[in-house]
Symmetry: C2
Subunit: 489 residues, 2 copies
């Protein structure tokens, strides 16, 4: 029954694809912009619903709607400009032996994309979030699996998307909305007409989707953004100069939004010193003053409480402050602990993410142990280094190791806060994501949903405009190995 | 024991990676060019060895060595030019609220790549072939799993690579050579330090590697190019005008190199007509005149003979010519058969590739059945259409369907012969490859081995040259959403 509904949805998505992929980019851009305008206009109505469902504060959700409409407009601008299709043209060489035919390539959409909404960003990583925006921009219809933690928010956002689709003349079913549990998710990933999958969530959830995908007859790409502890390296000179200020900054980053960000700094690494002791003391004091606040939903809150308990029961773990009193039943207790690197290295379970307002200070004996500890970590979305110029000069090896670990290296800031721009990488080696060659934030996120296609020997008028001699879209192209916007004459 | 050797090899590859990834691109380019020069110089000695092992003719192998050194030089030129790293820079906006940090992205190598040599191209898709050349260009050390069908050729090519590595000052173990059976292959794919895998071969072999990869703790990309029947659509007007000439052309393409190409035209599709009958008759006559020649090795020859027998025993299959006499024990019998589309649609086993000098003419009742038959096919590397201008105007729907089916669309030529250039796509939906977002031929083949990495807030002098303000490598970059080679001032 559920299975039949899912089949119907994918049949409709595939029918929409046959039309949608041929709609000119400027019209797809108008569609995205209409969704953006609809979200902005509905913000006063949407935010209270999302507050009720997610327990996130008003200011944060207002900002998130703006981020979401901004993302939609970024992808609209990208496809209006047009060079993202990576047009490459090798013109015929009839006199070469053997003769070279005319060969022209561009990126084309893959087909219906299934997007799983995330609980921690009810707007920006959910229904009309980055995965959906990038897939629609690419020319792929989207089947949205709404997150069960915010069903009303998801339905309302979807209604805005449907309205925008009609208003801008998009084909029926270019976006569809599915609600359901794990069985629906499994059926969506396994359906033969599903061309790709986007997911932001837990390691467990992401691994389940990868498993479903591996059971398919035909391989499809699954981009899952899953798990990251975002290690922060505190270098000695920076600690000596600024221990207290760094601690205040990190207390804020660790507890921002009750730590419910994939870039939350879950591990802090430093070398034993008087400065690190001051950092540790101040961090504990600062965290003790952060009031417990509600988490997204009961499941996440319970998982956090259980995970925190498990970490605290491990030998060698020291809580840096007195435990706070929880008031509401969804409240999370912010917590920072310290552990010696020797212990950390022996206990791989300590390396795992605890989603919530938690961080672990790993105290290394010396630089060699700091390097050893970094080497022991799994793939990450981000890694940060807090350093003076003197520190940087003395720790090139640390920075090199950090580069191999993650998708983004942050200097003297916090990993939380992911800018939406062309140069952003929100990705990284497993388990941060399922494929480190892609990002889920920023304009190149569109690459996940497209494949290169090559035309050999076609007459100019049968080629897509991006590949025609006249270059009617005035895009940047690689013509006979030269980047140019010039027409071919 | 085997396991320990593989572990040792990957440990060495990983140690090489730490040095190799930091070697400037111009030096990596010199290394690739030294391999190319070594191959060209050794051609007179290499080709007889490869002839002995592969039974391929001298002219073909001479050409293949040239293709191989040409590929190496193409990737050398790509990294000397440098823009392939896709540098993107979003400069800081300190006055924005919130302030935007400086964010800079480029592509970096992923780590040791395992390359499986292919039997059908002992040079161009094996030891120093396209997978290896693109991975080395990217900055990844390569562990080559030599193909057991041409061990001497592989060893000799590897010796040239090792010599080039020493001569150009590359780190020890930047290339390594492993021989062995399936167990070695499994251990290579499953080793924790393997960062990516490249494979060209059978569907069965590719699926085995994908299975091994799915059993890893950490996901890694496996690019497997596996199986394609490269459907050719013969449109009515073209047949009426040129049936005999088309048949001669295709007889040549089907039996070129005894059909041992991944782009061999294994399925021909046409609509019942007098022209198609002439095509069919002439094709049978032409194939009957092609002398059986040796295939690559006994395994492939036996598989071809068995597969051909199975196809011929299916009801509704008609051999278009008298069977030829085989002389040598490795000889393959070129064969073309015809089948009605009704039968073809009911027998999915007929859709599968038979590797060798074989093709199947599928006779459709009308255009609707032609479309139905195209829709029933799996993913392909290429698809071809033979058409007059009149045909093209009347068959836009056929061309649209072909685009969704494959990675390359060829008009009025043959799919065999894959140009090595920027616009080439040698890829396609499963089972043609494991990931249609990549190509294994042409300059963008390098993308398989790199991931984006983003630096946030780093001082100019600590950034890689590609991202420094002065743009010392004079590469094309996306700076604040504008493509430019200008320095940032």
């Amino acid at each position: 029954m559920q299975q039949e509904q899912i089949d119907h949805v994918l049949q409709q998505a595939n029918a929409a694809f046959l039309t949608y992929k041929n709609i000119p980019a400027v019209q797809r851009a108008s569609f995205l912009e209409a969704i953006a305008a609809g979200l902005d206009a509905a913000k006063p109505a949407l935010v209270p619903v999302a507050m009720e469902e997610s327990h996130l504060p008003e200011a944060r959700l207002n900002g998130e709607v703006g981020r979401t409409s901004g993302q939609l407009r970024l992808f609209a601008a990208l496809i209006r400009e047009g060079s993202w299709v990576e047009a490459a043209i090798d013109t015929a060489l009839p006199d070469r032996v053997p003769a070279r035919p005319d060969i022209r390539k561009l990126l084309i959409p893959m087909g219906p994309v299934v997007v799983f909404g995330a609980s921690n960003f009810p707007f920006a990583f959910s229904t009309a979030g980055g995965d959906t925006a990038s897939a629609l921009a690419a020319g792929c219809p989207v089947v949205i699996k709404g997150h069960p933690a915010h069903p009303q928010t998801s339905r309302r956002v979807f209604a805005i998307m449907e309205h925008a689709a009609v208003a801008t003349g998009m084909p029926a079913h270019v976006v569809q909305h599915v609600e359901g549990g794990n069985a629906a998710g499994e059926a969506l990933v396994k359906h033969p007409l599903t061309a790709a999958v986007g997911f932001t969530g837990s390691l467990q959830g992401g691994k389940a989707l990868l498993q479903y995908a591996s059971e398919r007859k035909r391989n499809i790409p699954v981009f899952a953004e899953m798990s990251s502890v975002n290690p922060v390296v505190l270098l000695p000179d920076a600690l000596q100069e600024n221990a207290e200020q760094l601690a205040q900054t990190y207390a804020g980053s660790i507890t921002l939004g009750m730590g419910q960000f994939c870039t939350n700094p879950g591990i802090l690494l430093g070398i034993e010193s008087e400065g690190l002791q001051r950092f540790s003391r101040t961090l504990g004091e600062a965290i003790a003053q952060v009031a417990p606040q509600p988490m997204l939903h009961e499941g996440i809150c319970a998982a956090y409480a259980k995970g925190l308990q498990e970490k605290l029961l491990q030998p060698g773990i020291n809580l840096l402050h007195a435990p706070a009193d929880r008031k509401g039943k969804l409240d999370a207790q912010p917590a920072v602990v310290s552990v010696q690197a020797d212990t950390f290295l022996q206990q791989p379970s300590l390396h795992e993410e605890l989603f919530g307002p938690f961080s672990m200070l790993v105290v290394c004996k010396d630089k060699a142990q700091l390097l050893e500890t970094l080497r022991a970590l799994e793939g990450q979305l981000t890694t940060t280094v807090m350093a003076t110029r003197k520190d940087l000069d003395a720790h090139a090896d640390v920075l090199a190791l950090q580069t191999s670990l993650a998708g983004r290296l942050v200097l003297n800031s916090v990993p939380t806060g992911v800018e939406v721009c062309a140069a952003m990488v929100h990705g990284g080696p497993f388990p941060a994501t399922s494929d480190s060659r892609f990002t889920s934030v920023g304009s190149t996120a569109i690459r996940r949903w497209v494949r290169p296609f090559c035309f050999q020997g076609l007459p100019d008028e049968l080629l897509p405009p991006a590949l025609q001699n006249a270059n009617p879209e005035n895009i940047l192209r690689l013509v006979d190995n030269v980047y140019t916007r010039d027409a071919i004459v």
